[in-house]
Amino acid sequence: MYVIHHRTLFFWLTGLLLAAAIGAILVWGLPLGIDFTGGSLMQVRYDGERPALADIEKQISVVHEGVVSVRTVGTQEISIRARTMTPAEHEGILAAISVDAPSGSASSPQVTELAYTSVGPALGSQFTNKALWAIGAVMLVIVLYIAFAFRKVSKPVPSWGYGLTVVAMLAIDIIVPAGFYAAYAHVTGAEVDSLFIVALLALLGYCVNDVIVIFDRIREHLNKNEKEGIRESFEDTIGKSINETMTRSINTALTVALALIVLIFLGAPATRNFALVMLVGVVAGTFSSICRSAPLLIPLANWFAKK
């Protein structure tokens, strides 16, 4: 019953976490990558010694003025971000960095282009639209499905109350990792790419499942109490349900977290940020399912009781 008795504490904790996450997003912002804004991104590897960054920037500025940033990646690679380039501009940059650097810090660098992406501005904004639509639609359907699945338990909270609670939780479950990513991006210079959206979507799926397991237990107890005429306060039912499902919630989170940690350390660099966002989301989501989702039903029940 620990969680229930201290629910005010957990609500405050949640509030703080949420405020921190929203604060991080507002202060540092989520730096949108070219998938959203449009633009070009080149990843280039120097086979020999990599020239100084300033030299590379100088080389590029001669041929192309729309370059937003040049960053070093690891010891051998650089990434060049620019407004949407034409194929000719792209070739020009590649040629420019393949010749000797002006200060001669490296001679005749051998460069290999690892990846090049260019997204038109129109398609970028369309991607944002679609992603928002998809997240909204998924949330709506979740409310409807849960209202349906819990239709037999309507006291003391109507079945759509469970659905709304889940969605309120999901909003928090998404904002927290997004806030983390804003801070992470501020430090490392990472950007929001489409895999970040995929991570949030995957988290939606994970957290819904997590909350449903607890709610299912509440549903089971409510049904049983009604059938057998047992009188039990709603708080006790919820507290019991949380305790009984706690091991499962933690174990599942642990296995998924283990898989994600492996992915962070051994997986491809392309999926590293994805796994990191997922990891933060799974940890935060598990905390939120246990400490917030079901306890949130209590004030909701009180509110309905008053009406």
Partner: protein, 445 residues
């Protein structure tokens, strides 16, 4: 119990066969069941064009788009790429913008500039005169050598329409298919001028720079109509009409997106993904065995079966694997683990409540079922919505995710349950209670 054991034996053999199928088809480079890897993993170029349909009547748009696709496919084939994919996409109405797109995937190609140049912008139709020279002496005036073609200025821009007709052909009473060209008024004048000045010469019709028909001008043609008679089959003639119509009604395309992934990056991504997958699976399996003992071993087996089945399904459909698809696979494995955890926790509770092991397994499954059902169903529905609304990278995730959750749904209720029922005895003694327990505590206290 025998019933369950037979089922388990069948499931194990089937799992081994599936694993062998996955492994052997991957080892054989010629197999058609190798994993289809997306460009982000295999390396290659993707070009996304926007087709400008503003001047195409609404009813002809899908025809125009498929003709455009045909033209681009021809150009891609000329470019010499193994297994190119040319597909069209009509932006969904939900996103508020109706847009026709052409997506060209060129595996193995990393030179974007060359690819863009080869694909060009708009399919072109041109009429060119063959340049010939009369060789040598008057006595040999008949022999000519063809040198090449010169532009006449007559292009698809002047063609009003092309249509198919069947004329009286030379071939034994059969009507030979002919292609009828209709020029607009400017085109008609130009065509009349050209034909009147060059009777007896060859006026070749070029589509995308390749001569598709080389008729000879028989006489001056006024009125803006021309017929191409050639040795066409009906199908060829119909294709030509389509190409002419859509070469003549240009659908301008503009390059919107391009991306190229070098082969080294792709290969590194694959090997890292495989290593992470194997290590992740082993760690999760070890954790499950350490915590859940016997059921843990069973869940590790069920997970291995699950993976073999998933990989086989991905190969057979086939699903193109991308980085986001692999992410979907990992999450769905997490869901499959969760179904097992739910069941085992429930079984353990029932044991604690004093049930015999076998009863506990039975009740544990039926109690865990509603949670598994609701969790999986919401995820399947969410996945379907994502697939429906998402862009290609989100779709890659959603497809594998939905498949994975579906398979997990089936395997959780069949495999793990039946495996346990096949070995757990009716009346368990202390050892069985230990084996079915979990964590650091004995299940009976």
């Amino acid at each position: 119990m025998t019933r369950y054991r037979v089922f388990v034996a069948v499931a194990l053999v089937a799992g081994l066969l599936l694993a062998y199928f996955v492994w052997s088809t991957q080892a054989d480079p010629t197999s058609r069941y190798r994993f289809k890897l997306g460009l982000d993993l295999a390396g290659g170029t993707e070009l996304v064009y926007k087709a400008d349909m503003s001047e195409t009547p609404t009813g002809e748009r899908s025809d125009a788009l498929s003709a455009l696709q045909g033209v681009i496919e021809r150009r891609v084939n000329l470019f010499g790429v193994a297994e190119p994919i040319v597909q069209t996409e009509q932006a969904s109405a939900l996103s508020g913008i109706t847009e026709d797109r052409l997506i060209v995937d060129l595996p193995g190609v990393t030179d974007i500039k060359a690819a863009v140049a080869a694909l060009g912008e708009t399919p072109t139709l041109e009429f060119k005169l063959a340049v010939t020279t009369k060789t040598g002496l008057p006595a040999q005036a008949g022999t000519t050598t063809q040198l090449g073609y010169v532009s006449t200025g007559l292009t698809g821009r002047y063609l009003a329409s092309a249509s198919l007709q069947f004329g009286s052909g030379a071939t034994a009473g059969l009507a030979a298919p002919q292609v009828l060209l209709n020029f607009d008024s400017d085109g008609a004048k130009l065509f009349e001028k050209i034909t009147s000045e060059h009777v007896g010469e060859t006026l070749a019709i070029f589509l995308d720079g390749v001569p598709i028909s080389t008729p000879t001008i028989q006489e001056a043609i006024p009125g803006g109509q021309a017929t191409i008679t050639g040795n066409f089959t009906a199908t060829e003639a119909r294709d030509l009409v389509r190409n002419l119509n859509f070469g003549a009604l240009p659908v301008p395309i503009t390059l919107q997106n391009s991306s190229a992934v070098g082969p080294t990056l792709g290969a590194a991504a694959i090997s890292a993904g495989v290593v992470a997958g194997v290590v992740g699976f082993v760690i999760v399996a070890l954790f499950m065995i350490a915590w859940y003992r016997l059921p843990g071993v069973i869940s590790a087996l069920a997970l291995a079966e699950y993976l073999a089945f998933m990989l086989a399904v991905i190969k057979v459909i086939p699903v193109t694997l991308t980085a986001s698809g692999i992410a979907g696979l990992i999450i769905s494995v997490g869901m499959a683990v969760d179904a097992n955890v739910l069941i085992f926790e429930r079984t353990k509770e029932e044991l604690r409540g004093g049930k015999t092991p076998r009863e506990a397994v039975h009740i544990g499954f039926s109690r865990a079922w509603p949670a598994i059902r609701d969790g999986h169903l919401t995820m399947i529905i969410s996945g379907i919505i994502l697939f429906w609304l998402g862009t290609s990278i989100v779709q890659g995730f959603a497809l594998v995710f939905v498949l994975g959750v579906l398979v997990s749904f089936i395997s959780a209720v069949s495999l793990s349950r039946v495996f346990l029922l096949a070995i757990v005895p009716e009346e368990g003694q202390g050892a069985w209670k230990f084996l079915l327990g979990s964590g650091f505590r004995s299940p009976v206290n």
